[in-house]
Symmetry: D2
Subunit: 345 residues, 4 copies
């Protein structure tokens, strides 16, 4: 039984990690850390865990973590992981980091977007944990930079088509919509119920920090710099993310061509469901699951492809993909512990 | 492997039955019937089941059902089960009915509330499926009348206290609040999003059909006619039900007395979680689960007990309790197939 | 043209005051104060006011306020008004305070519930601003303590019946449900969208600070100490409050008796709409308005009266009633500036 | 006092017309028709109107309508207006039709999108009621085809830029998001609360009937056929619509150029608020109002313009714009009766 710990267990992504890891048949969840809630039983914070997860939060201590965990999930604000992960790596622990700190193989890009990186060598060795695209590298990774939620929803529909050169990389526009849990559990006016309900708006238009993360991956796939337009929006719902991608087709491809490109790429990968029907996917249908549902429509009059993807931002967009990464690293089936029946509503 | 079928599989309770039974380790889900959707693959109606449940809906046919199912769940509108269950019973099938048709051992009460009963003898043999209260009878039942959602949330906190005579039965008031899924999936103006959002209201004040169902059980527990005041309300949320019960204490009982009464009654029953702290339970903490969380507060100035209970109306209030009933009937652990990790949010 | 100022203009109640006072035909809104947003144009905080209200927030300064306002609304956290109102009163300004500081004619009760009162004499001279009940006193008041939202929704249905002794004061239970804006605009985890959506729960059961406020008024009406049970709940909606009151009837009164008691009391008072039909009122139907809609049902089997009331917690429960109080003080029609057409949805 | 009637008064757009016309200082609302609710007092359907609008619904009768109304609003499903409007026009009544029947000056386009048109000559004489763009024609119109909600939100930001040739018409993509009230009040599964809550999805991707309506107007502005990509999405909220438009700039225009183009075009038009700051507009800030708030961002790396617009789909997207059209036709200030103070939340 592999022992696992979570550093930063009380935010929303951390809590989802608890849910998934406490129910995982091949690992034992042993450590939950929280600066704010050290000493508190986890069900005092999340009452749903009452009688189900009997662990107390504790202050982060590297020795305690290393003694009791083989794999560490870090679900902490950006900049904290780069402070604590080096010591974990030095002691041979494998780390799955849910922040941006280890997502960029080129720390210079990270520094443009975020701040000075204090663990550049380690960052350069990090593997980008987009499971269906980089499984091979993930398998042997010491440190996985778990993808952002927006990048996951944008990249999964785009990668196969870009790789097969069916779309023109200079024309990509991604219009994303996210539920509010993406903003985390820290109190802030903009995430208050009364600010969000009956409200829909764009934010960080063409300036979101996830855009360079997407572009780094797309450029790698295209073997050429790719520069996209990305506009995120906030939806009055708790969980869920939808992305509508627009890109010009490079040729007169049929629906069957596009479907075949997508479904052959994701053949055998349980968590990506490609729809042939063109029925637009709905965030509700993946709520609480690790699925990414993809559909597409060709706007023939303009030879423009419209890709539609949905994920649960906290699962495939965070904790679920992190567990999937762990499974790949442990060389067990990638859906282990992630196969809960989805809810019809 | 016990084979099970669902008659009326495409309403919300039916869909939740699919989720629970398709993921149940001891049964095989073999038949889904639907008048409206006969011939349709279930994931066309509930896309979340894509790639997970590969069954088509079919028109109800008693022979087909009996050939392929040992236990039948009927999730149909009131009056239809009493038409079709007799034939199933005659062929030795055990039935768990989610309508009101088999909840009343005295068909005369049913007839007062609903309509003429056409299977009175069978109704008289039905067992009321409130799992934690009537396990013994359920074990050997041929037909279980699965409780209504409101009765489940009202009865579970009340039964132990009434049984021990800690509260005065003439003073019981139950103020319940339900999410909208309780109204089902039939199109109706009152359940439209724009009618429900930013809206809270009472309905069927002191005249809801579930009130006699509660009173029948409470009277049986109290060995005396019990007449309560029940007011349901509609909450702008999809799933979840909260009930606040008010009743005068019959003596000067301490918090410990009340806690002990509740927790000893539910000792060993996983799905009822009694809170000693008085922290009010939240519907979000039981969403998607079979839990009923109970807390209480004593208003000492008036010697009045306030009981608070929450359930998911579609799970403990419908499909989850139905599966729990099945487990009891099959004499397997009552939480088999119902142990999914709860969501933190 | 009476000049009015708002101290604490950027919270939800303050912002509603801006909406109502900026549109009021008989007053001129001249001063908005805000500690946090001093120097900021109000539409930077509430973009809906863009091009409509051209005022900047400023730090609170008693001289500036007194120079530019004849009537001052204080929409500040409890304890701050009792610090600043004495200076305003000393300079002859009339004050409508939306906090609890001037709601209790007996400061000792205030001190039991809140904290030490530093302006007891002034508090004793304050008038409780429940408009339809205490108009006479309000007319000449120097300081009005604007009622809490819960008390408004509980008292309006109860006062006429208690006054006419149709109900037994020892049996009153008020089960209230409030939208989230009642918790204000201060960032806090419990008011985050992801904590509130799909969630319903009780809180401060039988221990809410508004309970003594209600009891003080009910005791005055009944000429006898009245002690009620009050349980508030939180609803996943932004605005709106519903209260369901239970009380035993003192006699065998007909529906017509009760209707007559309520409607004769509120005869000529535009903002209380008594429904004879028993159709339960809906918070949506009073959203954004100063109405309080009241209906009732008699549970004959127990001779128990069920009263149902709805208000918008920010309007009749706060800013709207405050403006209504101002109108009464100015001896202009009480609905001046409050007559916006209600929204159908 | 101009007398006005509403044919189809009980749908959401009709109800909003009631709100606006009953509060309008220059008109008298005299007739409400409804097939379903003939004989019912309007407040039985919309309780918010209790004591405020004292009109009964009646069956549609052309004589009664013509006798009692000078201007008729038709808020009826497509195809019904073209049946009844000819008789109204023949009797000299001016008509503002909220359906699509009179939006297309070329009935052949209508027939491609909808169905056979039975009043082609009249349709050809109809004026497209996009107030800020076609005021001149509206002033003298006999029949106004009130724009669809999506076209309003797409056209208002685009028209000035397309007219000044700042954007390339072949690159326009409009990604719109609408609240659920846009689907109307007819019962349907897809609009049920439990289907919509916690759900976000695209629908009618690149095939919505409003797309040809937009293209007809854009082509007229550009003096050349314009073909756009339009994808609507459904948001779990009741009211509100946001559109994000993407288009390539035709030159190296500064932010000031774009702002100037937009604000000079809308100079003096109260209901279009152009933001210079780039702060994305929020549907909540225009909820219940006739405003269209517009902002923009230039994605310099790709020389791509991103336009953001928000409206209330039932007001500026339907009833509000209809009343604005009436005001223009009556040659009174276009904001008469539309100047309610906006809500801060």
């Amino acid at each position: 039984m592999t022992k696992v710990g979570i550093a930063g267990a009380t935010g929303y992504a951390g809590a989802e990690l608890i849910r998934l890891l406490a129910g995982h048949p091949e690992v034992e969840l042993t450590v939950l850390t929280s600066r704010q809630y050290a000493g508190t039983r986890i069900h005092e914070i999340y009452p749903s865990f009452t009688g189900v997860v009997e662990l107390d939060c504790e202050a982060y201590d590297p020795d305690a973590m290393c003694d009791r965990a083989d794999i560490v999930f870090t679900a902490l604000p950006h900049t904290i992981p780069m402070e604590i992960v080096p010591a974990l790596a030095a002691r041979g622990k494998r780390v799955i980091d849910l922040s941006a700190d280890f997502r960029f193989s080129d720390p210079a890009v990270y520094e443009t977007v975020y701040t000075r990186h204090t663990a550049k060598d380690l960052a350069a060795s990090g593997v980008y944990g987009l499971c269906e695209v980089f499984s091979e590298e993930i398998r042997s990774a010491g440190i996985v930079g778990n993808p952002g939620c927006y990048p996951t929803s944008v990249l999964l529909p785009l990668v196969p088509l870009l790789r097969e050169k069916l779309i023109d990389p200079s024309t990509i526009i991604a219009d994303s919509k996210s539920g509010v849990s993406g903003a985390g559990r820290s109190p802030s006016v903009v995430s208050l119920f009364s600010e969000v309900a009956e409200s829909f708006k764009a934010y960080k238009v063409a300036s979101h920090r996830h855009e360079p993360e997407m572009e780094a991956v797309l450029s790698r796939i295209a073997n050429d710099p790719v520069d996209i337009t990305f506009v995120p929006h906030l939806v009055p719902m708790s969980r869920g993310m939808e992305t509508t991608v627009y890109a010009d087709l490079t040729g007169d491809f049929s629906d069957a061509d596009i479907h075949s490109c997508l479904s052959s790429y994701y053949d055998g990968r349980r968590f990506v469901r490609v729809s042939g029907s063109g029925r637009p996917p709905d965030t509700r249908s993946v709520r609480g699951t690790n699925y990414c549902d993809i559909a597409f429509v060709v706007d023939r009059s303009r030879r423009r492809l419209i890709l539609l993807s949905v994920i649960d931002n906290l699962v495939k967009g965070a904790a679920g993909q992190a567990v999937q990464n762990m499974n790949i690293m442990l060389q067990i089936p990638e859906d282990t512990g992630l196969g809960q029946m989805p809810y019809p509503l």
